[in-house]
Every structure is written in C-alpha cells, then in structure tokens.
C-alpha cells in the first residue's frame, strides 16, 4: 500500500537516488523512490567498474555511513585491484570490476528490503510548490505525491540528447527517454543551467575477440574489498585483456573527424578532460602512436565486453573500422555502438552544503545533475542530500561534511564554492588533507557520526566498535613496548645506533618496519590481529604530518565557524571592492572559510569579512 505523504521523495533510481533513498530510510524517514523504470534501478550507464583513485575513497565513505554501494559492488565484483598498491596508503584506491547483472539485482534486492521505502515507477513531470517550498511531485499521469522535501537525482536525463556521428536523438541514455517536462519545470526557477557532455565506447561481443593474441591483466592476488564489512569476493574472478590503438586506427579516426559529433560542432556542451574521447586523444596528443585499451568483460553471464579507453561519437561504420584495425579485434562484432550524450546540469553554486537549492527550499539535487560525473560521486552526493532531507523532515540538523574530514566534504565544497567547468570527478589531489583522509580510515572518520544521526545500523556499528577496541588495544600495546635501535637496524631500518630505544609506534613510522617485521622481532605482538597491526602501521607512516594537518584543519574549522548570513548586504561592508562584492553576492558563502575558496578572493577582502562576521556575531 503506497502512502500519499512522505518525509522524502527521491526522483531517479541511479546511483545518487538509491543512496539518497536508502540513507533517509535508515534514519527513520518515510521515503518514496520514483523512477522511470524500476527495472533500471542500479543500472550502470557506462563503465562496469566501481572505485579507483579518489573514487574508491568516496565509496569507502559511503560505506562508512552504512551506504549500499560498497557492499553491492563487492558482491558483484569479478576483478579486484588496489590501485597504487606500491605507493603510500593515503593514495591507494580500491577498485573493482562489477558484473552488471549481479550489481543491478543486488541493488534492487537491497532496496526492497529497506523498511519504509516505497519504490514507485513513473516519470516525474512537475513539482508541487506551496508557500515558497517544494512539497511534492506530480507524475506523468497526473498522480500527486506529497513530501516534506524532494531530492532530484535525474543524472543525464534533463534534456538529454544522444549523438551517434551525425545522427542525434533525445534520450537519457541508450534505451531511455530524456526528461523534458521536468527540465522545463526547472527552467522556471531561474537557476543558472549549463550543458555538459560525456561519451561511452562501443560494446563488443566477447566471443568474437581473439583473446589468445592479447596480453591479459589479472586481478590482485589478495583482493581488497570496497566495504569494511567484507573480506573476500563472492563471485568468480576473471582477467581482462589489453590491446592498443595503432597508426592505422589513428588515420581512420583523423580522416573522419568531421563526422564525429564532438568535432563537427554539433555538441555545445563541455566534456571532461580526464575522460577524453578517442577523437580527442588522437587530436590532442598527435605525437602519441598508440593508446592502451582495456577489454573488460561486463559480467559472468554475458559475452559483452567494455573496451575501456575508446569512447567515441563517430558514425557506427567508422567505429567498426578503427576498432577492427586493432590487435585481437580483427573479427570483432559491435553489439552496441559508442555514443556521446549531452545534458543539462544546474550550476551547483546555487546549492547549500546540504545540496539544497538555496532559493528553492525543500528541493535537493544530487548526482550528475550537479555537474559531476561518475557513479561514486553520485552515490556520495546521494548520501549528503538524503541525510540532510531526512534530518530536516525529522526535525534536526545533521552536521555538515567538511573538507578536513572527508572526500565527500571536499566534493561538496568544491561544487558549491567553485562550480564546474567540465564534468567534476574526484581525484586524491583535490583533497588537501589527503594524508589523513585515507580510504583505510573512512570508518574511523565517519561511522560514529553516522551512528549519532541514525544512519548506521546495528550490524555495522557492532563490527565497527569491535574494530575500534582492537585498534585501541593494539595502539596501547605498541606504545608501551620498546625496541633497541640495534634490533631495528637489524631488520633494515636506517637509524643512528646512538639513539635511544623506540616504542613500537615509533618503530612503525619507519618506512622499513612493517607490522609483520615487528611481530617477528617481538612474538608478544602476535596477540594483535595482523589487520589491526597493519592499520596502526598506516597511521604511523603519517604521524609526522598529522600535527600540521591537524593545525590546518583547525584553521579551516575556525574560518568555517565564522558564519556569514545568507542575506548579508555586501554593499554595506566598507572597503570591499566592487569585483569582490559581485563575486560574494553571486556565491553567498555561508562562512569565511567558504569565501576564502572563492576564486580571486584576496587576503584583504577576507579580513573585512572576518571583521563583518565578528560584528554580526557580537
């Protein structure tokens, strides 16, 4: 039996939508998830991979809040790789390739098992507005659903247009209709909107690939899971193939550039620099003779293969020609051609830190609609919006995500203070607190806080609490044990023999001393679970830097606590230049900290804002 009044209505069943609906429901809100086709909930529009550098951090954070993505992806994982395994833990990113079908089915099963979450099939055509607030949605057939607030997670569907070479047609992605009526409704809010584009490669029939001739890339021997709750893969593991583009392929592409949707001037939107089409690669890096292409099977029960690295909007027959010129692909059959998609996004500078539209109370936006790209970015935003909307409906305020404690905070802050000029993707280099915001400690950073606001369930809380106890016991033991320097030199440490003995924690901060090495030196340490020991080692590596990062974080927190009212009249601040005033009026930063990150902000201008904020607070 469907209700007709909800706390939160989520529009869209993509990666943002499912997390938004699930987190709100976990917090005790009554939720409806409305999406065009229930059968596409959990669909992956593009690459069947989850995680990676920066992205893996986001998944871990979603997981730390007891979100779905990590667990569902682990269940569907058919190849696990920890990227940057040989580099420092702060920049390691867990990534996996998922079986599309398992992922989708698991995701749908998870959602169905959530209490107080209704799944509604239908297209949202309009929004209900009452007393200056969004209070519900109207479906295509006229049915109305009311709610305390509404979260839009419509991805690439707003006025989506697909391009195959010179051919174009409206669509949200291959096989789905665009969302045009809702886009028209969005226009009425007077928001700044823009156009972005992205592309996807052709899908190949794996039975027609000559795998024998190709190099193969296996997964890791000791797979690292995305979720803190899992320890081993469920699905059978597979290897990927690797091939390369070559001079002949490049020639074909170059000769046909004018027929590419991207190059013929048909697309006005901006595409991501880090996910260029093969046309882009050939033009911009003309001196490169070859580009790597990973052939990634899309699942265990399908023959479809995703050729990672050659997204394109060339006409189908050209795609056929250049793909077949590559090693191992001479006979390949294209199952579905590559295409580009162009869509509307909302300038995220119109959002609050909770991803609510400042000028349209009750309406939250999450996912690709905010100018981001990627499943993980979408899922993380879903958590932010879902959490805030549920809290608002239940009558409390959830603490904001900060740059100094999460990648989620970095992303939200980047989006709302800088906006986007190309589809926004997470990188570890975006996080200035990278050394402390690691994938390995996402739970230590976020789970307690999540428990407090009610989004972390009992099972996870118990596992987390036990882990924290073991970590604490391990740290105490290691801070009390002492090792003479001679012993540490014996295991390869580069130390001055004159120095006094080191505690276990100090010893672990040396690059040469792993936990296993120490445990061999001191058998009493074998009481400590090796995984706990390894985690303490990760913390120790960065101990020398954490103080400084801590200080910086405090500065940020201080600047962030200096609030600037939303309706502040910048014209009344004496000494503020007209240029800065214009920028501040446009961004309406909520705090001095946010203002500091506005491009072109000057030290002197900040000083004026600090004074203003102090005056207002007094």
């Amino acid at each position: 039996m469907k209700h007709d009044h909800y706390d939160v209505i989520v529009v869209g069943g993509g990666h943002a939508g499912v997390e938004a609906a699930a987190i709100a429901a976990r917090m005790g809100a009554k939720v409806a998830l409305v999406t065009m086709k229930l059968s596409t909930i959990g669909a992956m529009s593009c690459n069947p991979a989850i995680g990676g550098l920066g992205k893996g951090h986001l998944v871990r954070e979603v997981d730390a809040l007891d979100g779905l993505m990590g667990r569902v992806a682990d269940a569907a994982g058919i190849q696990f790789r920890l990227l940057n395994r040989r580099k420092g833990p702060a920049v390691q990113g867990p990534r996996l390739q998922a079986d599309r079908v398992i992922f989708r089915d698991r995701m749908q099963a998870e959602l169905r098992s959530v209490n107080d979450l209704d799944l509604v099939e239908g297209e949202v055509a309009d929004l209900i507005e009452e007393g200056g607030r969004i209070t519900g949605v109207i479906l295509g057939e006229g049915q109305k659903l009311s709610a305390h607030s509404v979260i839009l997670t419509t991805g690439t569907f707003l006025r989506g247009v697909l391009h195959f070479g010179g051919e174009t047609r409206p669509g949200g992605r291959m096989g789905d209709n665009a969302s045009t009526r809702l886009a028209d409704r969005m226009d009425s809010f007077g928001l700044t909107m823009g156009r972005l584009k992205t592309g996807t490669p052709a899908r190949l029939d794996g039975k027609t690939i000559d795998w024998e001739r190709l190099e193969s890339q296996p997964g890791d021997e000791d797979p690292v899971m995305l979720s803190f709750l899992n320890t081993a893969p469920e699905a059978r593991q597979i290897a990927c193939g690797i091939t390369h583009t070559n001079a002949q392929a490049h020639d074909i592409i170059r000769e046909n550039l004018s027929r590419s949707a991207m190059y013929s001037g048909n697309i006005s939107g901006t595409g991501p620099r880090y996910c260029p089409s093969i046309e882009d690669k050939v033009v911009r890096f003309a001196d490169k003779e070859s580009h790597q292409v990973f052939l990634e099977p899309e699942g265990l029960t399908t023959d479809t293969v995703y050729p990672n690295g050659i997204s394109t909007s060339l006409p189908v027959e050209v795609q056929n020609d250049f793909i077949r010129s590559m090693k191992g692909l001479k006979q390949v059959r294209i199952e579905q051609p590559g295409y580009a998609i162009e869509y509307d996004y909302v300038d995220p500078r119109a959002l609050t830190r909770n991803l609510e539209l400042r000028d349209v109370p009750g309406l939250y936006l999450a996912g690709q609609i905010n100018g981001t790209t990627g499943y993980e970015e979408a899922a993380a935003q879903g958590c932010v919006a879902g959490r805030a909307a549920a809290a608002a409906a239940l009558g409390f305020e959830a603490p904001e995500f900060s740059r100094s404690t999460s990648y989620i905070g970095v992303m939200v802050d980047d989006l709302i203070t800088r906006g986007v000029t190309e589809p926004y993707r997470m990188f570890t280099s975006r996080a200035e607190f990278r050394l402390s915001l690691r994938a390995d400690n996402a739970d230590q950073r976020l789970t307690s806080q999540g428990r407090e606001i009610g989004c972390v369930g009992d099972e996870r809380w118990q596992a987390f609490s036990e882990k924290m106890e073991r970590l604490e016991a391990g740290r105490i033991m290691l801070s009390q044990s002492k090792y003479p320097v001679s012993a540490l030199i014996g295991v390869g440490a580069n130390l001055n023999p004159e120095r006094p003995a080191k505690t276990g924690l100090e010893a672990l901060s040396l690059p040469e001393v792993d936990f296993s090495v120490l445990a061999e030196l001191d058998p009493s340490l074998q009481e400590i679970d090796p995984r706990v020991g390894e985690q303490i080692k990760r913390e120790a590596i960065y101990s020398a830097y954490l103080d400084r990062q801590e200080r910086d974080a405090q500065t940020i927190a201080k600047d962030e606590s200096r609030r600037l009212p939303h309706d502040l009249d910048y014209g009344t601040i004496p000494g503020l230049s007209s240029e800065l005033r214009f920028k501040l009026e446009r961004h309406r930063p909520a705090s001095v900290g946010e203002a500091a990150r506005i491009e072109g902000m000057t030290a002197a201008g900040l000083l004026l804002l600090i004074n203003t904020s102090r005056r207002i607070a007094a």
Binding site: R86, K288, L580
Partner: protein, 427 residues
C-alpha cells in the same frame, strides 16, 4: 562602497598640491566642482564652490577602474599648492554626499583589495615612499613593480609542474602516464631551489640597502675619531640626519654614499675602564662595532701592521697631520685621505649590495627558507620510488604555500590543468 579623498602630496606650501578622490562617486564629485570632466582624461578646469565662486584653476585628471592606482574610478585635482586653496577644496569635498576623508594608507589598501598590487608590491611602495637614497629608490621600485611576485611566479611554475608530475603518477596510476618522472621532478626542484636560495641570500644585502649599512670607526681614545666624524659630517658627504647616540657611547651619523645609505658609528674610546658604568658602555660599543658591516681602525703608525682587523675592515694611520702626511694616513683636520677612504668604502659596500635581489624583508627570507626546507625534504623522499610520493607531494604543497605567502595563492585546478595539458589522460 564609500568614496574617499585625501591630499596626496605633503601638507604645506608648494608649487603643486594633488588631491585624490577614489570610489564610485569620484567622477560625480569632480563634476560637482569642475563642471564637465575632461573627455580624454586630462584638462584644465575652474573649480567652484557650492555658490559658484572660483576656488582655483586646476589640472583635472580622471581614471577609470581599469587604469587607476586603486582599481576604482579616480579623479585627481592638481591644485596650486597654497594652504588656503587646499583647505577650501578639501572642505568642499567634505560637503559632497557619499564622500569621506581617506584613512591613512587607505588608497593603497584598496589597490591591494582590488588586486592592483600584491602584498610585496605594497611593501615596495612603502619603501619607495620612505626612500632617501638612490639605491633605496631603485630597490623599492623593483619590488613595487612586482618583481618579487614575478620571480615567485617562475619558481612556482616549476614547483607546480613538479607537483603535476607527481600527482599524475598518483592519480592516474592506471593510465598512460610516464612511469619515471623523478629525473624531471629533481631537475625542477633543483632549479627553483637554486634561484630561491640566491634570492634568500640577497635579503641581508637588501635589508642593508633599506635600513642602511653601518661603518664603525674604532680606535683608542684621542685617535681623532670624533674629528674625522665631524669632518665627514660637515663636508664631503650629504648628511641626512644626525641621530644622537641612544647610549652616550655611540654617536651615529647618517650619510649618503654613492646612493647607499650609510650610518657612521663613533664608538667613543675603546679603553680599559675602571668605572663600572663606563665599562658596560664600552662593552656595548664593542658589540655594536663588531656587528657593523665594516670597521675603520684608526691606529698609530707603529701599530699599523699589527691592527686586529678583519678581512672587510679598513686600517688607517690616525691624525696623519701629526705624522708628516703618512700615505696610509687620514686626517679629520686637513681632510687628507678622506676622498680615498670614501671611495674605498663605497666600492666595498657596492660590492656587498650587488647580491641584493627583490626579496627585501625578513618576512620574505623566512618564507623562502621555509619553502627551501620543504623542497629539500621532498628531494630526500623522491628516491624511495613511488612509496613516498604522497609525502613528497605534501612537501611540495607546503613549499608552494610558503611561496604563496609572498604573494598570491594557488589551487588544485592549476595543477590539474598542468596535468591535462601535458599528458594524455583518460580511458
């Protein structure tokens, strides 16, 4: 935003006095007094008061936001420099709506806020206004024209490129990026560190140019030190000021030596003293002399070869008038040897000031030193291979931040921009 005005030239009688008005109401204020403003930015106008009575005939200059010193609309009134005219015009401006007198330094502050000057340029400007000698003026001009900012930009470009290389290997590990970026990173780090170190080493000289070199005249009592000092103070050199010694033991005379500011110290008689108070004074004088840039030892002829002089010190036979005009001598009475002495001093000080760059303050030196320390640490971490790239990148970030404290700020978009324009990233 308020419009401010102030007299930009020194108060008092002068040929020309300039009143500057800056802010959105500047042009309106100009029109209220001068009628229509000159169309091409400058022209002669009659300034009138509210009753239409003539105040002065003035050269009126107008600037729009993009071309003015403050980055705002500016009007300048070049008046006849009489006190009466100035105060009449200032009164009139005070009566106009939306105008108020500027606070001290407010024009410069607005230039800073509007991004017309960076912090180091403001410091240069302050020095320029204070400049008394030619070398000070040149140094301040270089800094004010943004030379430090430009150099920092160059170092930063190298560091950002190095950072982009490291970040590329970190964030795009699964892509086609160069595998070993270390050699290029090392080259970039060394290049910027060398330049920064040179600049840092020059701060001491630059500070001397700003604050003055010190030359201490030392010798036993009755060696004619004071006579020589009086001679130098009275003639031969342009005296800027007589600063009476703050202690009764050191007398200072400021002079301009080939454009370099020099303070001569007369360290009243170095001798063993039984008087405790005097002994303390002498101790202080010794310290002061030891810290001076150059010491001039005045000695008797028999002590000439055994004087305890450092490599940078000068030794002269004192009171040469008593010693048959000894060629090694100097006399404050006859002036013998004085031109030579001044030449030699000036040569030496010029050689020392040659190392001065555009970093001129202790603040600059501290920022450079901090930046260099982080670069050095980064350099140590590099050979570990990828393992410590995250730490190396952190050190670089801190190095760049240190440079930023000299001028502006960087952000991650610059680094990503560098990455994207250099490598083919993306699958």
């Amino acid at each position: 935003m308020e419009t401010i005005y102030a007299l930009a030239t020194a108060r008092g009688r002068a040929g020309v006095a300039i009143i500057r008005i800056s802010g959105p109401a500047a042009h309106a204020a100009g029109e209220a007094m001068a009628g229509e403003l000159p169309r091409h930015g400058r022209g002669l106008r009659r300034l009138r008061d509210a009753q239409g009575d003539l105040l002065d005939e003035a050269l009126v200059l107008t600037f729009d936001e993009r071309r003015s010193f403050t980055g705002e609309a500016v009007v300048e009134l070049h008046l006849h420099g009489s006190r009466a005219v100035i105060s009449a015009v200032l009164d009139r401006l005070g009566d106009l709506p939306d105008l108020r007198p500027a606070e001290a330094g407010e024009f410069t502050r607005r230039a800073l806020e509007n991004g017309r000057l960076d912090l180091s340029q403001v410091e240069g400007l302050a020095d320029l206004i204070d400049a008394e000698t030619e070398a000070q003026r040149r140094q301040a001009m270089r800094t004010m024209s943004g030379a430090l900012g430009q150099r920092a930009e160059v170092w930063k470009r190298d560091l950002l490129r190095a950072m982009a290389l490291l970040e590329a290997v970190i964030d795009f590990a699964d892509e086609d990026v160069p595998v070993d970026v270390t050699p290029e990173v090392e080259m970039l780090l060394d290049r910027s560190a060398d330049a920064m170190r040179r600049e840092m080493d020059g701060v001491a000289a630059a500070e001397r140019i700003r604050d003055g070199f010190e030359v201490a005249i030392i010798g036993a009592p009755n060696m004619g030190k004071s006579t020589l000092l009086n001679h130098l103070a009275g003639r031969d050199a342009a005296i800027i000021s007589d600063v009476p010694g703050t202690t009764r033991d050191v007398i200072e005379v400021r002079m301009d030596l080939r454009g370099l500011p020099v303070t001569l110290l007369d360290t009243a008689g170095l001798r063993e003293s039984v008087d405790q108070v005097e002994a303390i004074g002498i101790g202080r004088a010794r310290e002061r002399a030891a810290a001076a840039d150059i010491r001039l030892h005045l000695v008797s002829p028999e002590d000439f070869d055994t004087a305890l002089a450092g490599p940078d010190d000068l030794v002269r036979v004192a009171r040469s008038d008593l010693h048959d005009a000894d060629p090694r001598g100097i006399s404050g009475l006859t002036g013998q040897g004085v031109p030579d002495l001044l030449d030699e001093l000036a040569d030496r000080l010029e050689a020392r000031s040659a190392s001065a760059g555009v970093a001129i303050r202790e603040r600059h030196r501290v920022a450079l030193r901090e930046g260099l320390a982080h670069i050095a640490r980064c350099r140590e971490l590099l050979p570990s291979g990828g393992i410590a790239h995250d730490l190396a990148a952190e050190e670089l970030r801190l190095a760049v931040r240190a440079l930023d404290s000299l001028v502006g700020r960087v952000d991650v978009e610059h680094i990503l921009g560098e990455i994207f324009s250099s490598f083919c990233i993306g699958k």
